[in-house]
Structures are given as structure tokens and as C-alpha cells.
């Protein structure tokens, strides 16, 4: 039915099957949309946030998707600036994931603020000293970059590509993509960093506060670093899930391995830096403000010492070791474990840097306030997930997201099918497909 839109040389399930399978996802999406409008119309009393938890699930989700969407900028940086050419086989997917993550982040921000109709004041009345201003500006600009990076892929749709103008536009954009990617990397460095700065500059909150260089607290660099480390892992994780769902190999192992190896080294260096940061904070920064490390961890189930161990040891050191060793990467189980743990690590780090910052009492006569999200918060947080699944599914169906797909999954009816399939089976030796 929609075969005219589907890229040449690939196999796609019937449209009806797609619609059937996406049905539940669309339902979740609609649930999220209902919750979103409830928040907009009735106000944020629909949430379980309160004056102690001004930042909660949403801001955590925001920081997390941006960190995990960091795969786009880092892969772009490696591909276009550093020149890791091999990565062009995964860059489209990375950009797609990045686009989803960033558009989701912007949407969540639009729900999260108390006066969405005035949200643009953050630009108009910008306070350049605020980390959040930096976040907003860089985030928006980088979202533009992602759109610019995603656009050529859309233009490569079989039908659109037939129009000469769009074909040329796509071509031209590819030509100067390095410029956009460089801008994107610049912007990403700052907004990933300023998201870390958001917590790090809070000198009234010793749990979050860090010293640093010039105006940037250490968390600024740690956030950028961890996004560069965990973002690619997230891209790989989603790639593996996509491959599992489509029951196809979409990107060759050597590409994934390269990305994973780089991510592994990033994660290793990150976790070393993070350990130093934590140690300095626990031994110097916090004590100078009257706090001992144990003061920041409570015996309640949400904010126990386990969170620190989980973040640094389980989701930091362990995946680092796996990802930097060839053996670890070559075993599919340990490889996936490492990738998932790295992703979880970013989530846990952002959780601590948002929710625990809110919860850890500063005044001596206050306790640990507890928080659990309302269904409206959960629904609006799941909304981007549903939206992401749909966008991945549609992009996969109609756009040439994976350049190696045709080669790896030759369609039997075509002439060279048999050959290509044999080649694919022989694995990594196969040279990359023609441009």
C-alpha cells in the first residue's frame, strides 16, 4: 500500500501489521497527550511536585534524555571532525535518536514550566549568568542542528528525493555537514555542560555544589563527558533493540565495536574523573560546608548509600572494564550488559543530581521530604518514549536510516541477493557499501 514510500531494496512488514503493532504505543502516546493538556490547562497541581521538589521526575527525564541523546553529537564529532569515517553507518540512527531525545526534552520543558505561554521569556529576558539560560539557548540551537542533520535523511525518502530541489538540498547539506556538526559539537559541549552546571552552581545545596574552573563547576565537564560516554551506549542499545525487533542485522559489528570501544574509553576516563570529583567533594568541599558524606545519604529507600555504589561501581567501573577490553566487547552478553549498565549509570547520575539535590536537607531542622510522581507525570514522561518508538518505526520504514541494511539483508528476489547475503554472513570483512 505504502510501498512507493519504502526505500528500495529493503523488506518491510505490511502496513497493517505496523499499525497493529504500534497501536498500544499510540495509546500510550495519547494517554501522555491527555496528561500533558491536563497539566497545561489545570496547572502543575496535577503533579506530585511540591516546594521541596521543584525539580522532579520531569527534570530528571529531561537531563537523562539529553545525556543519552548525546550519542548524536559525539558520533557526529567522531564522524565529521575526528574523521572516523566508519561511523557514517550509524550516524543516521544516532542523529535520529538525538532528534527524538532533544525534541522530547523541549516538550517536557514546555510542560514543566508553570507559565508555558511565557516560556520564551527565557530567551527574551535572558539572564546570561544562569546555567539554565545557557541550557535553553544551546538546547534550542542544537535542536536546530539536529533538525538540519535529520532533514537530509527525510529528503532521501524515495518520493521526496525524486524532486530535484530536495535532492539538491539534501546533497548540499551533506556537503557542508561538517560545519553543522562542528557547531553542534560546540553547542552540545556547552549545554551538556551547563546541565551539569545547573546543579553544580547551587552553592546553597552542598549535595550538588562543586568547585570548578572560572564559572564552570566540575559537574559541567563531568556531564559533557558522561553524555559523550553514555550517549553512544544508548545509541548502541537502541540499535540492538531495533535489530531484535526487526530481526535484521542493520549495522555491521565492526562499526558498533568501534563506537563501543570509544565509548568505553570515554566511560573509563569519565569514571576516574567522577571518582576524583566525588572524593574531593566528600573530603574537602562538603566538610567545608559542615557536611559529612553520610549526611547526604539517608536510611530511607530512595536516597541510600546504595545509589553512590550503583552509580560509580556497578554502572561505572564494571561497564568501563568490559567496554575497553576486546574480550568484553566480543561476548554479546557481557557487551549488552555493559551497554545497559552504562545507560543506567547516566540515569542514576542524573537522578541523584536532580532528586537527591532536592531531598537532601540543608537546614538542620528539616528532614528528607519524599516524592513519588503522579500518574500525570508518569504519562507525560512516557509520552516521549512512545513518540520515539513511533518516530523510529516510521523513519526505519520510510527512510534509509541504515546504509548497510540493503547489503546485510539482501532481498531474495533481486539479482545480487544471494551474493550479498553470503557476503553479509562472512561478517566484518566486507567493505562498506558504496556511497
Amino acid at each position: 500500500m505504502d510501498s512507493a514510500l519504502i526505500p528500495k531494496g529493503v523488506n518491510r512488514c505490511p502496513l497493517s501489521e505496523l499499525i497493529l503493532k504500534l497501536g498500544p504505543v499510540v495509546a500510550v502516546l495519547l494517554w501522555g497527550v491527555v496528561a500533558m493538556f491536563m497539566c497545561w490547562i489545570k496547572g502543575l497541581n496535577q503533579t506530585n511536585m511540591n516546594d521541596s521538589y521543584g525539580f522532579a521526575l520531569w527534570i530528571w527525564a529531561d537531563l537523562t534524555v539529553i545525556a543519552l541523546g548525546g550519542g548524536a553529537f559525539f558520533t557526529g564529532l567522531l564522524r565529521y571532525i575526528i574523521g572516523k569515517d566508519k561511523l557514517k553507518n550509524i550516524i543516521n540512527f544516532a542523529v535520529l535518536i538525538g532528534f527524538i531525545c532533544y525534541s522530547s526534552a523541549l516538550l517536557i520543558l514546555a510542560i514543566d514550566i508553570g507559565q508555558p505561554l511565557r516560556g520564551w521569556f527565557i530567551f527574551w529576558h535572558a539572564n546570561v549568568h544562569s546555567m539554565l539560560t545557557e541550557v535553553a539557548f544551546c538546547l534550542t540551537c542544537y535542536f536546530m542542528v539536529l533538525t538540519i542533520e535529520y532533514l537530509p535523511l527525510i529528503l532521501e525518502n524515495r518520493q521526496i528525493d525524486r524532486l530535484p530541489f530536495f535532492h539538491n538540498l539534501s546533497h548540499n547539506m551533506h556537503e557542508i555537514m561538517a560545519v553543522f556538526a562542528a557547531t553542534g559539537a560546540f553547542l552540545s559541549f556547552f549545554h551538556q555542560g551547563s546541565l551539569g552546571g545547573v546543579a553544580g552552581v547551587l552553592f546553597g545545596r552542598p549535595f550538588a555544589f562543586r568547585e570548578g574552573i572560572f564559572i564552570w563547576p566540575w559537574t559541567f565537564f563531568l556531564f559533557t563527558w558522561s553524555a559523550a560516554a553514555c550517549g553512544p551506549c544508548f545509541t548502541i542499545m537502541l540499535l540492538k533493540i531495533t535489530e531484535r525487533i526487526t530481526r535484521k542485522k542493520l549495522v555491521k559489528d565492526d562499526v558498533v565495536d568501534l563506537l563501543a570501544k570509544i565509548a568505553g574509553w570515554m566511560l573509563t576516563t569519565y569514571i576516574i574523573a567522577k571518582i576524583i570529583d566525588t572524593w574531593y567533594w566528600a573530603m574537602v568541599t562538603a566538610p567545608s560546608l559542615g557536611f559529612e558524606l553520610t549526611d547526604f545519604y539517608s536510611n530511607n529507600p530512595f536516597y541510600g548509600m546504595w545509589i553512590l555504589i550503583l552509580e560509580i561501581v556497578v554502572c561505572g567501573i564494571i561497564p568501563s572494564i568490559i567496554l575497553i577490553s576486546k574480550k568484553g566487547r566480543s561476548n554479546p552478553v557481557s557487551f549488552m550488559t555493559a551497554v545497559v549498565l552504562a545507560v543506567l549509570g547516566a540515569c542514576v547520575n542524573r537522578w541523584a543530581m536532580v532528586l537527591q539535590v532536592m531531598a537532601a536537607p540543608v537546614l538542620t531542622f528539616e528532614g528528607w521530604p519524599m516524592y513519588y510522581p503522579s500518574w500525570q507525570e508518569v504519562a507525560t514522561t512516557l509520552l516521549p518514549v512512545a513518540y520515539g518508538i513511533i518516530l523510529v518505526a516510521l523513519s526505519y520504514r520510510y527512510l534509509p536510516v541504515f546504509p548497510q541494511e540493503v547489503e546485510l539483508n539482501p532481498v531474495e528476489s533481486e539479482d545480487q541477493g544471494g551474493k550479498a547475503k553470503k557476503a553479509a554472513l562472512s561478517g566484518a570483512e566486507v567493505s562498506p557499501a558504496r556511497a
Binding site: 511536585m49 508553570g114 507559565q115 535572558a126 532536592m358 540543608v362
Partner: protein, 267 residues
């Protein structure tokens, strides 16, 4: 900026006198059009610009002791006006006035990101989770000098800044540029039946607050009076609300100390 004209309005609250009666809280609500809901028992979404906390010395009966501590906005000066909340507001909706030392909040500019609340260690900032609703007829007692806030914005104690404006207007008409101490008083300071709250210009040696707190401006306004302390002094927020207590455990409760730390007046 002419330094000789710069005021630094601040408060000194005598915790020996404070009885915890709560009059300051209601005086504030009545003056500043603070909304109220049917259920205000969830203190995490209950707007109280001025909130009286109850401290205990943690000792068992009968050695237990209680102290009440009223907590308005501290109007932190931080480091040269770099107060925790002002510097983080992305939309310049809150500002530190070098002229008065008052941290302002522009409700119509605020778009409700709540970053300032995350920044404030004193929980002095409140978000309007709900549309403010006054029962039919009760909107009649609203004070026209203070605009009621719409849902979705952050609000906090303003040191009754509108009273400063009114007093300045009056002084101007009378051809004066300076205010007398009693011409500008916050609603809570005026109401406190115990006279526990003193308000005035910390820079003016004639004002009670200066005499009580003896702020050391060379050291971020730290009090020279040994019975005076500020909340969370170590964080460097440099608040302009000072507390007096003759009880050592109360002064110690004002800040965090390491287990073996001697709570002297360390710098």
C-alpha cells in the same frame, strides 16, 4: 553606585523573645495577599512567606527544649549580590537591589521554572501550584499595594517592599530623601506582639538591627555579637536575617557542623 546611600535592609529576630505564636505568619499573609486553600496541612505546598519552624534540642523528657525560629526570605547578598537564587533565574525575574539589599521577584516575568527554589537552601521560595482563590467576598480584604499572583509562578517574602515604596513616596512629597527607621517596617516586624523582630538598615549604626547584629561588612556581614548567628553561615549565602539566642544549642542548630567540630566563630 554611591556607597554612602546604599541601604542594606535586614532583620534581627530575637529567638529568646519569639514565642512561636505565628502572628508574623498571619501578618504577612494579610499584608501580602497570600492565598489559602482548604487543606494547608501539606507544608510542602503551603505558601508561607514567613514560616515559623520549631526546633528541638533532641533531648528526651524532661530535658527536652523547644525553640521557635521564624524564617522569612533571607535576602541573601551572597558575594556582591550573587545570591543563590538571583544568579540562577534564567529570565531575570528576580533581582538583587544594590540600593536596598532586597531580593525582588517579578511575578509577571517569572515563567515558573522553579530553578530558584532548587537554589534556595532556606525553602523561602514558594510556587503557586494552584490558582489563588478567595472565597466569595473575601477578595474584599485584598491589599491593593500587592498584586495577587497567578498560578504557575514563584513568590517569596519581599521585605514588604511596597511599604518601602509608599514610605519613599511620602518622604519625597515631604522633600526628604532618607527614611526614618520606623517609617519602613515590614508587616511581621510591626505585628510581632513580642517585639522579637527588628527591621531596618544594617548599614545604619543608628538602627536597632545594626546595634543588635553588629554586622562585619568586611567579612560578608558576619555578626560580631557572639549571641547572634545567621542560618547556614558556612554556605556563603550572606543572608540579611540575623538571629539572637542566648542558648548555645539553638545557635548550633543554625548551621551544619561536622561531628567533632567546635562551633566557634570560625571564618
Amino acid at each position: 553606585m554611591k556607597n554612602d546611600q546604599a541601604k542594606k535592609y535586614g532583620m534581627v529576630i530575637d529567638l529568646d523573645k519569639c514565642t512561636g505564636c505565628g502572628a508574623c505568619m498571619v501578618a504577612c499573609m494579610a499584608e501580602n495577599n497570600i492565598p489559602f486553600k482548604e487543606d494547608e496541612s501539606n507544608k510542602l505546598d503551603s505558601i508561607t512567606w514567613m514560616r515559623v519552624y520549631q526546633l528541638t534540642n533532641g533531648k528526651p523528657y524532661p530535658e527536652t527544649d523547644i525553640c521557635y525560629i521564624p524564617r522569612p526570605c533571607m535576602h541573601c547578598e551572597g558575594d556582591h549580590g550573587h545570591s543563590p537564587c538571583v544568579s540562577v533565574c534564567p529570565a531575570t525575574a528576580t533581582d538583587y537591589s544594590q540600593k536596598t539589599g532586597i531580593v525582588s521577584q517579578i511575578y509577571t516575568r517569572c515563567f515558573g521554572c522553579r530553578y530558584c527554589m532548587a537554589a534556595c537552601p532556606y525553602h523561602a521560595r514558594y510556587f503557586n501550584w494552584w490558582d489563588p482563590v478567595w472565597p466569595n467576598g473575601m477578595e474584599k480584604f485584598l491589599n491593593p499595594s500587592v498584586s495577587p499572583r497567578m498560578r504557575g509562578v514563584v513568590e517569596k517574602c519581599s521585605f514588604c517592599f511596597h511599604r518601602h515604596q509608599l514610605a519613599m513616596n511620602k518622604a519625597f512629597v515631604e522633600g526628604r530623601r532618607e527614611l526614618e527607621e520606623n517609617e519602613y517596617q515590614t508587616s511581621c516586624a510591626q505585628a510581632c506582639p513580642s517585639g522579637a523582630i527588628a527591621f531596618g538598615d544594617l548599614n545604619n549604626p543608628k538602627h536597632t538591627v545594626n546595634q543588635l547584629a553588629q554586622p562585619d561588612n568586611a567579612h560578608g556581614g558576619q555578626p560580631k555579637n557572639p549571641e547572634v548567628f545567621r542560618l547556614l553561615e558556612k554556605l556563603g549565602t550572606n543572608p540579611k536575617v540575623y538571629y539572637v539566642s542566648s542558648r548555645e544549642w539553638v545557635r548550633r542548630a543554625g548551621d551544619n557542623y561536622l561531628k567533632n567540630e567546635n562551633p566557634g566563630k570560625a571564618h
